[in-house]
């Protein structure tokens, strides 16, 4: 069986799949990149409060062209709008919200997630590269739930769900769930447990692309 046959969800499909699991009322931080797309799949009538670590609660969609407020950006430095009910806090209060466990959810990208929930997503550890961490370690350590949203394997086919992270860690025992192009997988005390598999993907195919044993829901 070749990799080409295992397609799973597209990138937007992954974002949509994660968005479906976010209930009304949650306070949610979306990481830069793919996780940001999740907001597009939460309908406006489902009230989810999006947090941005630079001090916003209640982010709305991107502004119409030419209507950006220069005083409103998100953590990815993109222009944003505010929803009715939004509020602004300073930087120490914003990370107090994160570290204090007041975010119901943070959705982050990941290089690797280990079966014990360890997260590696801030550094490839390449010597000479400029390290940059931003709020990743605070979010990884602080949110009530951390979902990793990432491809199931690397570009050259190596598993990103592993027994132990090889990349430098972002946070210990942090990730509670992983959304990939192939499956939705919970991190439990017993290890990875499959919650959902993308249409057309078999359990065997999934296990073959995963660096640690997969439990099934039963």
């Amino acid at each position: 069986m070749s990799d080409a046959m295992v397609r799973g969800w597209s990138r937007t499909g992954m974002a949509e799949r994660a968005a479906a699991d976010i209930p009304e009322g949650w306070v949610v931080n979306l990481g830069i990149g793919l996780p940001t797309l999740v907001a597009n799949y939460v309908p406006a009538e489902r009230e989810v409060i999006f947090h941005s670590e630079n001090g916003v609660l209640g982010m709305g969609p991107a502004p119409a062209p030419g209507e950006a407020d220069p005083w409103l950006i998100n953590a990815g430095k993109q222009p944003i709008t505010l929803r009715p009910g939004a509020s602004i806090v300073g930087q120490s209060d914003s990370f107090g919200i994160i570290r204090g466990g007041h975010l119901d959810l943070c959705v982050l990208g990941g290089y690797e997630v280990a079966a014990n929930g360890d997260l590696a997503n801030w550094s490839t550890g390449k010597p000479g590269a400029v390290p940059a961490v931003g709020g990743a370690m605070d979010l990884g350590a602080g949110a009530k739930r951390v979902w990793a949203l990432m491809e199931h394997v690397t570009r050259d086919g190596h598993p990103k769900l592993v027994e132990r992270c090889a990349y430098p860690l972002t946070a210990l025992g942090s990730v509670t769930r992983v959304y990939t192009d192939l499956a939705v997988i919970d991190v439990t005390k017993q290890g990875f447990r499959v919650v959902d598999i993308a249409p057309g993907v078999t359990f065997a195919e999934l296990q073959a692309r995963t660096g640690a044993p997969l439990l099934t829901a039963g």
């Binding site: 009715p84 009910g85 204090g100 007041h102």
Partner: protein, 226 residues
């Protein structure tokens, strides 16, 4: 639709049981959610731990809670009646050994509550170092000064008073009514606000919100509300 407004004070106090740890906002009588405390006193509770700056004062509903034997322990900085008032209920109970007291310097109390909300489990402070209130606590020199290690102070419930509130639970405070209400809102599992003005969502300027709604679980509008 998120809607944190509850219809009345009974609904606001739902789930507070014997043995609960409860923060109560206010400094002196200002910013204390009197209607919530008064109603709490009618519930026949036992074994409560109350965290409140002026827990020994002679005003508000706390003396009633004490008289009825609801309170096992008080965490506060100033358990004393205002000058000129009658000897406070707290003093009688304390002298009789019927209530436990954890005395905390006011700023350390505020910072321990803030730390609980901000995910800081412990911190060093120069306040109290070398005094009786630091006895038994870990100390060390930090930046050349003797400091005491203090721990975050959590509660199951916080009863607070706000000025404005919307259905997401965003709050503003009025003048010194902000006091302990602001940090306490962030430090409890269930934060219950008595507010004086009900606002539509979006009516409070985002820059003017002092306590974002995510810290607040229930809002009840005071009967005096406009």
């Amino acid at each position: 639709m998120i809607d944190k407004f509850v219809p009345d004070i009974d609904a606001a106090l739902d789930g507070i049981g014997d043995g609960a740890t409860i923060m109560i906002g206010g400094f002196g009588a200002v910013g204390q959610p009197h209607a919530l405390v008064d109603a709490l006193a009618e519930r026949g509770l036992r074994g409560l731990t109350i965290i409140a700056n002026n827990a020994g004062a002679d005003f508000g509903g706390l003396p009633k809670l004490m008289e009825r034997g609801a309170i096992r322990k008080v965490v506060c900085s100033y358990p004393r009646a205002t000058p000129g008032a009658n000897k406070a209920t707290f003093e009688n109970l304390y002298t009789a050994g019927k209530i436990e007291l954890e005395l905390v310097p006011q700023g350390t109390l505020a910072e321990r509550i803030r730390a609980a909300g901000a995910g800081i489990p412990a911190f060093f402070t120069p306040t109290g170092a070398g005094t009786k209130l630091a006895e038994g606590k870990e100390t060390r020199m930090v930046n050349g000064r003797l400091c005491v290690l203090e721990h975050a102070l959590f509660a199951e419930f916080a009863l607070i008073e706000a000025w404005e509130a919307d259905r997401w639970g965003n709050l503003t405070y009025r003048r010194v009514g902000r006091n302990f209400n602001q940090p306490m809102a962030s430090a409890a599992t269930v934060t219950i606000a008595l507010a004086h003005r009900r606002r539509e969502l979006g009516e409070i300027d985002p820059d003017a919100v002092v306590t974002p709604g995510l810290f607040v679980n229930r809002v009840v509008i005071a009967e005096d509300a406009a």
